[in-house]
Symmetry: C2
């Protein structure tokens, strides 16, 4: 017998209540039962997104809903800003380019935050910019960009602000309305504590005005079709929805409301603090810069002399703990401790204890228990 | 206590084994466990599609994968034939038009099959036609078109044949390779006995050649990205897959292989025969023409003097049986008995018995038990 621990930033662990809720016998989606579920889920999503805007749902991965933002807001040849400081910023660039969009790239090193001043400069220099794309929390690096400040800048321009908050929502603050975030996207397998397969996007009035002008082809991902169905007297979806996933999301949102959004975000902040302090107590260096450390995932430099691939592999094979390695050029150079969604104190302890043992086995000089000790201190000082 | 019976052509009932398999604790998709699952699912899909072609999977509804066929095969301004004899044929037209495709519409009444000769005539008259879109089994009407003959025609032209077999696969014969069907699509919530949320598409070599020339924008639904990931030494998906749904599909395909495709199709044929004979024994008229009656759903004319809406409503409210009414202009005029996927003899009995009682209550002169009697005879003469 060996227990398995999935400490990755997506997919993330799913509460048993949610897993089992999906085993509910199938029911038809053109029924009052589904309508009632959809209304509850929609309300729950608005609560989590902190918005009065519609939150549209699609049967898709996060990438699908990223693409929907391009297809619904823009026309071929439109000019946009894409901020890229990691793998998912890169993907935003690629999607825009696939649609023939003229992309002004603001490219940063992967350990840097997006600089809001750069966005302001480009907006001033290019009054025809239609949209600004930015990733709030880069899953690839854990780096958190300041979308509050970016929102306060973009609101004064014609451009629509599109925020990939796929690993942000439910882990860090993302005040959609208060911060003037026109379009905010997330995926189910992240802070929402769900299996992958559902993606959500909120759309502001400013964004809807852009939708009216968009001529890029779309059908399945049409925000208008989705909103029209949602606004019917008996809210529904334009196409057959993934019923079992929506049942699961209903249960997950119920759990989230029970805990309360503020408490959820505070919990993530404390978990992240413990993961960071625990890593540093082992003598390891954090990857993300002090000004941009998110609460979804803690990326850590693999210490010199240690093979990063071996670290991840041994942790999995010997102790059943799955963490994420680095992506693209960071492969083997960093490892990432996930603490996004359904995570509690002893999940952090488990990962830290596992990393301590594996580092020691790989010849790195670590005093066993020091990482865990640091985490314990964080938890004792910050009850939740 | 009242049991609920979902007798609709999608979503369809899901076996408890499949529902519960999805409650398996979440695991990461970049792991050998997922790779092994993906390989098994891919093999199972090839078995069900009767093809050696890749069967690509997307987290989407059937409409998403219909759109993927347009986006991956065509370029703006291309000319195609769309055959439309129902709601989903109409949708194929709309999707093509949304992408700026020049559509030659072959429009039929909803109670007619697609005429292969019409396709041949248009192909001869328009040598620049890039694709022919046809629905095998119209969910809206149960009408089955002869895609075998259509395949034997289109194979001699440059055009690619795209078959919406969303309610075909797993209910009626759909011999992808033998019949020269270049692109075949299905959704999980149909013959595959799954919840909605996954859509699959098989792609022939002829279709891949068309993909090479296509310039329409695509990213999430890119067949190339999907196939490239599938062909890696450790097969995977380009974007986070809906893990729990794929686990469920693995279980559903296991059940299907256990029963055997021939047996599955034979079972559907017998169930459909019983539904038809049972309906006729009540004095009701079948909607679909004799030359095109599918095995997925049996559409029946609501008898004169009976309110079709009331029939469906009473069946649901009084007896817990959900059947589908007519769609669009057939609303209130027909009702549809689903028998697609996880259906057995007594599901047909249940629906027929319910319809008998409700018709009687609505003042239609029916001798109770006559529909069921006719179905019993079918089952006694055709064991499975």
């Amino acid at each position: 017998m060996r227990k398995e621990y999935m400490m990755t930033p997506g997919p993330t662990p799913v509460p048993a209540e949610v897993l089992l809720s999906q085993a509910r016998p199938m029911f038809h989606h053109r029924t009052p039962v589904f309508t009632e579920l959809l209304i509850a889920v929609e309300e729950g999503l608005k609560y989590v997104f902190e918005t009065k805007n519609d939150v549209l749902m699609f049967s898709a991965s996060g990438t699908g809903v990223m693409e929907s933002a391009v297809a619904n807001l823009l026309s071929a040849g439109d000019k946009v800003i894409c901020c890229s400081n990691g793998k998912f910023g890169d993907r935003l660039v690629k999607i825009n380019e696939a649609y023939g969009i003229d992309v002004i790239k603001l490219v940063y090193e992967w350990d840097q935050v997006v600089n809001p001043d750069d966005i302001k400069r480009e907006l001033d220099a290019n009054p025809d910019i239609k949209a600004v794309f930015v990733v709030q929390s880069e899953t690839s690096t854990g780096v958190l960009s300041d979308i509050k400040t970016i929102g306060s800048i973009v609101k004064d321009y014609a451009a629509v602000l599109v925020v990939d908050s796929i690993t942000g929502i439910g882990a860090v603050e993302c005040k959609t309305d208060e911060w003037n975030l026109d379009v905010v996207m997330t995926g189910s397998q992240k802070g929402l504590m769900m299996p992958p397969g559902l993606a959500c996007v909120s759309v502001s009035d400013k964004a809807w005005a852009a939708v009216e002008k968009s001529t890029l082809p779309k059908f399945y991902f049409s925000w208008k079709k989705s909103a029209d169905s949602l606004h019917k007297s008996a809210p529904t979806t334009p196409f057959t929805p993934p019923v079992s996933l929506i049942v699961g999301l209903g249960e997950a949102l119920r759990l989230m409301r029970e805990e309360g959004l503020e408490n959820i975000i505070r919990r993530h902040a404390i978990l992240a603090d413990a993961a960071r302090k625990g890593s540093e107590a082992m003598g390891l260096k954090l990857f993300a810069p002090a000004e941009g450390r998110g609460n979804a995932v803690t990326p850590v430099w693999v210490p010199e002399g240690v093979d990063g691939g071996k670290l991840v592999k041994l942790l999995k094979e010997k102790y059943g703990i799955t963490i994420a390695g680095g992506q693209d050029h960071l492969k083997g150079k960093i490892f990432r401790i996930g603490h996004l969604g359904y995570f509690d104190k002893f999940d952090i302890m488990t990962t830290l204890a596992g990393v301590e043992m594996v580092l020691s086995e790989l010849g790195y000089p670590v005093t066993l228990g020091m990482g865990v000790q640091a985490a314990e201190k964080v938890f004792m000082e910050n009850a939740f």
